[in-house]
Symmetry: C2
């Protein structure tokens, strides 16, 4: 059996390697138009930022290695120009020699990846405009910085690649300006969580334009002109406006594509065309949370899909189970992670959900390395399942998102999290890990009448609630929610006696814990409707930032 | 209803707080013989090691705080001397005044914790001998170091407290000697994993005696004399030989104790005596892995049990689900974590298990912060469930153990781990996380005929196997397993043609990956019995360390 694979980055090489692991009886041939194979695309921002990271670090394996290790033939700089699904033939051009030829397959694996979405604007082809696409495009940025010594950069697009580039260009000494067309950075996240990232970027001296579009690039890339009239002088421009499936090769050939333009495959990585498989960034994948097809181009998912395709082709029983859609990145000192649905995605789908903002230290507070994490967790009220999580913080974010991902994978209810026997010692966690607290808060909200309200919901219906601020008078005087009454927690039991128990109350402290104690107290005293403000005054302040003094 | 609680560290205060969160209708009174309450016992080594950590950091809450926050009465320096389960009375002495009195309860929570096991040897009562028990004992060590400026310390016991103390005393400039009666440090772990810790201790200048007992302490604590005849001069001695349940108060009163001397409770934290509950370090807990009662005194578990007891007493439906028994600590730069069964525990129980040693980077290898992790994972062959995990490494160990713990909690099979959508970006992981690799290795071993053999098993039956070392000739010449044949992987396919396919082979590379490729190749070529050496030559070397040159 002869298997052809188009594309040799993560998915294609994973498929090939797995086939060979399972069988010595296949011919395996890969074509790739690029020079580099099996590279770490996610490493490009770090390659740009750090001198000690070399091109070879990002491309540890070449064709010879695959030949020696796996007896796999990889032809680089070979562009596949056409596929004939009927005749099981592909047309190839050797980009080095110009030679054109065809090759035939028994099984075909399409692993062509994604292309950057480059905005179609004047001046985008200037010499100092760089997409972030592959190792070579990273290398061009690195060389440009070395040779031209630019002092400033504009990054178009504030998704994770843009934000990673911001850190790495800043570390090269460049002045960095980020332009994002959405109302906030990381458009896939919720607004109030993205605000933490924006604060962190501003603290690190990054200039930020949101809800702003680039209209043109003029004077040979010297100026970036925005739709609202800003003219930003810059020495270089990085385009990080996302990627889209590189599916031109299969368009109008009857292969099924999804709403995002990616190839649709089943759990065996089969397309709707017989003997044609697809894996990696050219595909959409099933969400384990909603069952919908989503587009999540990531090396980790591409690797999974490749391994599964390789196993299926050689008769194995591995099947793709879908992904919640986990992502993580760091920018400067801040780590940002998310998985599953955002609140806006849950709202759009009409799901009845509960949200908690849980602000906790990553480790014992008395250790000087400890930092706060903010965990936003979204749970479906009826099933008590976790729908999505967003976390920002300087330390320990990666651990918490992975624990959530693992719990979600096994269908955890929020009430399950408290029971986890997570590893505790002062340098690593708190006696109850922040993940457990998120579970407890949501369990209490869903099952024990300890309802939560987000700052956003509160401010949308501000007049419906009496807000009780149970912090100290000092804290209250430094800033508080407009119209909030200050009753320090220790006075609440006595003072609340005179209150109307049938009104709607929102209680809050600084981050949520004392607010919960106050909520318990009022409910135990017979109050009918008491909400604890999710994330307390800290979360309110991030979102509404106003300091009222009355 | 009047609830009395004996003990106010983790379990007792958690129980009290949860009761009050649920109800305003209880009287809650706690007695504790100590001065400090609700303290972080696990923080003591760090308190000793770091000037910036104060007594107040470890004891953030006092009786007044609990009174104000929760209307709970805590009487410190009050020793409970007797309990009358029939009359529901306890006898108390006020240690400050000498006053004795009785108090009555409707419900009683025993949260008396644990006491250090102090070896009964000559000189143990010398003035420079310190147990690690509570905040005051930690403070005595800290003051002794400040005032007496000791140059050397002997630590008796190399469990996690002993190893944390080793780091913290060393950081104070002391010369540290560790004495452990078991054959290796961390007796709860398996030998070959403990060796990594021992190497790390030696690298950090700690002197180490294993399989060694302290016979006596002489000349007012100036000398520690061992059973095998060593006489170690020292300025101070720390006793870290573990703890045992402080159950003297309930002995011979009909309360059920377990094999480890701890109180036996059900999932509601009820003892066998009506209206008497027990939580925390004075209790044994059920293992989620074996269903057996185990003794795992830890603040995190005590907190859980306390919260559950508090909920049950106030009519709630929280129930204790048991724990796999997770532990973590760091010593110098090394983090060490374990959960569930060790290999020796699995073997003792006659379980048919499979072991893998998986040696991987914690993050993209080209980042200079990346470090190797060693993950030992033990899986039951029949059920494919994960029975236990041990991890050592400098970075990212806490994340991996928590992912394993979470997966185990939901009954994960080893084949489930590959499918986890764990968060990937170069600073946080590799495209396939090390946890996923452990799952893949064990899945391949159990379900796909890619059998593993540990260095220990191989060397026990060395003559039964032909060992093929597929590393380069250079690597082989630097050191190899006695009698191993060197066939670099790229030559294996050709060379193996002449081999007897019915003999037993063990293949290995440096850490396991190329060994697996070689194993696949031979099996695909029709070889009948081929094992991959678990952890490769690296793991062999840690355990057998010999360099054969023939």
């Amino acid at each position: 059996m002869r298997v052809l694979i188009i594309g040799s980055v993560a998915g294609g090489t994973s498929a090939a390697a797995k086939m060979r692991r399972n069988s010595e009886d296949l011919e395996i041939v890969i074509y790739d138009m690029d020079k580099d194979i099996s590279y770490s695309g996610c490493g490009i921002p770090y390659f740009v930022g750090e001198d000690y990271i070399s091109r070879e670090d990002l491309t540890p394996r070449n064709s010879q290695w695959f030949k020696k290790r796996f007896n796999i033939d990889i032809f680089t700089e070979h562009k596949v120009t056409d596929i004939d699904f009927e005749k099981k033939l592909i047309s190839v051009i050797n980009l080095k020699t110009g030679e054109a030829f065809t090759d035939s397959y028994d099984k075909l694996v399409i692993a062509v990846g994604a292309n950057p979405s480059i905005p179609n604007i004047e001046g985008i082809d200037s010499a100092n405009v760089f997409p972030v696409r592959n190792v070579q495009s990273g290398e061009r940025i690195k060389i440009f910085i070395k040779e031209k010594n630019p002092k400033s950069a504009v990054i178009i697009g504030a998704g994770f690649i843009g934000l990673e580039m911001a850190e790495n260009l800043k570390s090269r000494g460049l002045d960095v300006t980020l332009i994002e067309s959405a109302p906030h950075v990381m458009p896939s996240m919720d607004y109030e969580m993205a605000l933490y990232i924006q604060d962190h970027l501003l603290k690190n001296g990054v200039k930020l334009y949101t809800s702003e579009k680039v209209e043109s690039i003029t004077e040979n890339g010297r100026y970036v002109n925005t739709l609202s009239g800003s003219k930003i002088a810059t020495d270089m421009i990085v385009v990080a406006t996302g990627v889209k499936p590189a599916t031109d090769i299969v368009k109008n050939k009857g292969i099924k594509l999804g709403l995002h333009g990616g190839i649709i495959v089943n759990d065996k990585m089969e397309t709707n065309i017989p003997d044609v498989y697809a894996v990696g960034d050219c595909c959409e994948v099933k969400s384990t949370v909603t069952g919908e097809y989503i587009y999540r181009p990531l090396g980790s998912t591409a690797n999974k899909m490749g391994r599964i395709a390789g196993d299926v082709i050689t008769g194995g029983n591995l099947r793709f189970r879908g992904v919640p859609g986990t992502g993580i990145f760091k920018t400067f000192e801040l780590t940002v992670a998310q998985t599953g649905l955002s609140e806006k995605e849950a709202a759009t789908r009409g799901i009845d959900y509960v949200v908690s903002h849980n602000i906790k230290e990553n480790q014992s507070k008395y250790l000087k390395e400890s930092r706060e994490l903010v965990i936003k967790c979204i749970s479906e009220r009826k099933s008590e399942r976790i729908l999505g999580v967003q976390i920002v913080g300087e330390r320990g974010v990666d651990k918490r998102i992975d624990v959530f991902v693992t719990a979600m994978t096994f269908g955890a209810k929020v009430s399950d999290l408290f029971h986890l026997d997570l590893a505790y010692a002062p340098p690593f966690s708190t006696t109850k890990d922040p993940v457990m607290y998120s579970g407890m808060i949501l369990d209490n909200a869903i099952n024990r009448g300890r309802q939560l309200i987000t700052p956003h919901e509160l401010m949308k219906n501000r007049d419906s609630f009496t807000v009780i601020d149970v912090r100290s008078k000092d804290d209250y005087n430094k800033g508080h929610i407009d119209g909030a009454i200050n009753i320090p927690h220790e006075e609440l039991k006595e003072t609340a006696k005179s209150f109307d128990k049938n009104k709607k109350y929102v209680v809050h402290c600084n981050k949520g814990t004392t607010g919960n104690a106050a909520q318990n107290l009022l409910l135990n005293l017979g109050f009918k409707e008491v909400y604890n403000l999710s994330g307390g005054y800290s979360q309110y302040k991030i979102e509404f930032g106003r300091v009222a003094k009355d």
